[in-house]
């Protein structure tokens, strides 16, 4: 009985190893053969042709420096805000439990920069969507809005949900 059990367990281990090995080999091979291009997702997801991809590539290359510039501005503003908050005050609250005016100003500037950046980003998405066939363009725009603005909606809805919860009690 023991011998049979050992043989059976050995066969089971061997089977698992064979399955697992071929699974990981297949997965790895597949991931390695896919192109590492930034726009490859657009081509696959929205079934775009070479002409459309070429137009999108131009738009993409035009947008990237603007995006980088805005990112740099936002990063600089965040740094200014941190300085305004100062090391002695916790989350910008001073001894009188008010946010200091400089920090308030920096927060407003940061929000304005983010809004400007998001507006520029949405404009880019609209331009890209217009280079696609209408149906794909609509889907692309909806997807991009969900990915970029949906995050805030999710946070806000979760917060309002927790507020409701608290009010019920």
């Amino acid at each position: 009985m023991n011998r049979s059990l050992v043989i059976l367990l050995g066969a089971l281990v061997l089977g698992v190893a064979l399955f697992g090995g071929s699974y990981f080999a297949g997965q790895r091979a597949c991931r390695m053969t896919r192109s590492a291009d930034d726009l490859s997702w657009l081509r696959d997801e929205f079934h775009l042709g070479d002409a459309e991809m070429s137009r999108i590539q131009k738009l993409h290359e035009g947008y990237l420096p603007k995006c980088a510039e805005m990112c740099a501005k936002i990063a600089a503003k965040k740094s200014e805000l941190e300085t305004a908050l100062g090391p002695d005050t916790h989350v910008g609250v001073n001894s009188t439990t008010n946010v200091n005016p400089v920090a308030q100003q920096k927060l407003a500037e940061l929000a304005a920069l983010r809004a400007q950046c998001q507006s520029q980003m949405l404009q880019h998405f609209i331009e890209v969507s217009q280079t696609m066939p209408p149906e794909q363009g609509r889907r692309y725009l909806a997807e991009m809005q969900r990915f970029t603005l949906g995050f805030h909606e999710q946070t806000e809805s979760s917060m309002s949900g927790s507020m409701d919860h608290e009010h019920h009690h």
Binding site: M1, A11, C30
Partner: protein, 117 residues
């Protein structure tokens, strides 16, 4: 010389066959021992046991049967092939999905960095 050597060890059966009297005497002189009680029954029982399929002492015959099946080369080869093919197909499918997600994350990271979201 050779003929002399052959005569030194004569065949006893040959001598018996040549001499019927000697042969009859030898047959009478052979003692056939009495069989043990139930000897014949015991022999048949042993033959039946040897012919019957072996049973494991623990009584888990199905385990032995399974091992016998697993150890068959054709079965082992077929199972290994099925496992490899199924594993590779699932891996490729999963790899495709992961590559798609990676590509999507890469695009989003470029056009909408986390800083902006």
């Amino acid at each position: 010389m050779n003929k002399e050597k052959e005569n030194i060890n004569p065949d006893p059966g040959f001598a018996e066959a040549r001499d019927p009297k000697l042969s009859a005497l030898l047959r009478e002189s052979r003692v056939s021992p009495a069989l043990l009680p139930r000897f014949r029954e015991g022999v048949w029982r042993r033959i039946e046991e040897a012919a019957a399929p072996a049973r494991s002492p623990g009584g888990i015959a199905w385990l032995d049967a399974l091992v016998t099946l697993v150890l068959r080369p054709r079965f082992a080869l077929a199972t290994a092939t099925v496992l490899i093919v199924a594993g590779a197909l699932l891996g490729v499918r999963n790899g495709n999905q992961m590559a798609h997600q990676d590509a999507q994350a890469r695009y989003l990271a470029v056009v909408a960095p986390n800083l902006l979201r």
